[in-house]
């Protein structure tokens, strides 16, 4: 049987990888890819806690489903913003979108 720790360490590693992507990539789409990895890492934790706790309490799975909905909403709005920025500024590099800076 797999101990709970394996899932948690696995999720922590995936979360860190996603965070590295968010912090280091220049492209806005790539940053969103990193966010997806982080959200998935969280979902693994939620599912693992559901399984290793009382299986009859569905809180973990319900939370995971709401994370799915949030992820879908975030990607839809995020990519719409990226496309809109690209249309106006002709770039999707996060460093170069600096209209609010002077």
């Amino acid at each position: 049987m797999v101990p709970l720790s394996w899932y948690l360490v696995f999720a922590a590693a995936l979360f860190s990888i996603g965070m590295f992507g968010v912090l280091s990539r220049r492209n806005a789409v790539a940053i969103l890819l990193g966010i997806e990895l982080m959200l998935n890492a969280v979902n693994i934790n939620l599912a693992a806690f559901w399984r290793y706790g009382d299986v009859r309490l569905m809180t973990g799975q319900v939370f995971a489903i709401i994370v799915f909905a949030v992820a879908a909403a975030e990607v839809a709005v995020g990519l719409a913003l990226v496309i809109s920025v690209y249309r106006n500024r002709h770039t999707v590099v996060a460093d170069e979108i600096d209209m609010l800076k002077w």
């Binding site: 049987m1 797999v2 101990p3 709970l4 720790s5 394996w6 899932y7 948690l8 360490v9 696995f10 922590a12 590693a13 995936l14 979360f15 860190s16 990888i17 996603g18 965070m19 590295f20 992507g21 912090l23 280091s24 990539r25 220049r26 492209n27 789409v29 790539a30 890819l33 990193g34 997806e36 990895l37 998935n40 599912a47 693992a48 559901w50 399984r51 290793y52 299986v55 009859r56 569905m58 799975q61 319900v62 995971a64 709401i66 799915f68 909905a69 992820a71 879908a72 839809a76 709005v77 990519l79 719409a80 913003l81 496309i83 809109s84 690209y86 249309r87 002709h90 770039t91 590099v93």
Partner: protein, 175 residues
């Protein structure tokens, strides 16, 4: 080492490798496809956790919709997507350091927690997680409010995405 542990290790290694490729590959379409691989690994992880519904929803939502959206977005913003110039910003080492520190910190915190080495109780044989989940989502004593909030959020996101991405200049993106 039991069969389950071997399966878990293979899947976890595959997922982490794919995740690493997502954040390091230069070609963004490849990055999106590696993301699909990583998400598929996560779906298999759900199966090992007996969360079949989550696994299938993961494939439908992430691979069927989100990954496709990413590939579309990469192609629609392609002028800057040529593999030239650095894909990482100049502070990437700081990001890497922070990621390693996060992992280390989480690992350190988990070490000190007594629930860490817990193993799961055997899965109840005649337990129907799907119907339990369904009634939990719509029952007033369950999670009907978060569920409704999530649906409102989705509608708002849908309207917002259409509004933001809609081009008033009748589809002509070139100046």
């Amino acid at each position: 080492m039991t069969g389950e542990q071997i399966v878990f290790l293979v899947v976890a290694f595959f997922t982490l490798a794919a995740g690493f490729m997502v954040v390091t590959t230069r070609n963004l379409v490849h990055a999106a496809l590696w993301l699909v691989a990583a998400l598929f690994g996560v779906a298999v992880t759900y199966v090992t956790l007996h969360a079949n519904f989550l696994a299938v929803v993961q494939v439908v939502v992430y691979i069927g919709a989100i990954a496709i959206l990413f590939i579309f977005a990469v192609m629609l913003t392609r002028r800057d997507m040529r593999d030239q110039g650095p894909q990482m910003n100049k502070n990437w080492w700081l990001g890497a350091l922070l990621a390693v520190l996060t992992f280390g910190g989480l690992y350190f915190l988990l070490q000190g927690w007594e629930g860490m080495t817990k193993t799961a109780t055997s899965y109840p044989v005649s337990f129907d997680a799907i119907s339990e989940l369904g009634s939990a989502l719509v029952s007033p004593v369950g999670y009907v409010l978060p569920f409704e909030v999530a649906s409102v959020l989705l509608v708002a996101a849908l309207v917002g995405a259409v509004y933001v991405a809609f081009n008033p200049r009748n589809g002509d993106t070139r100046k």
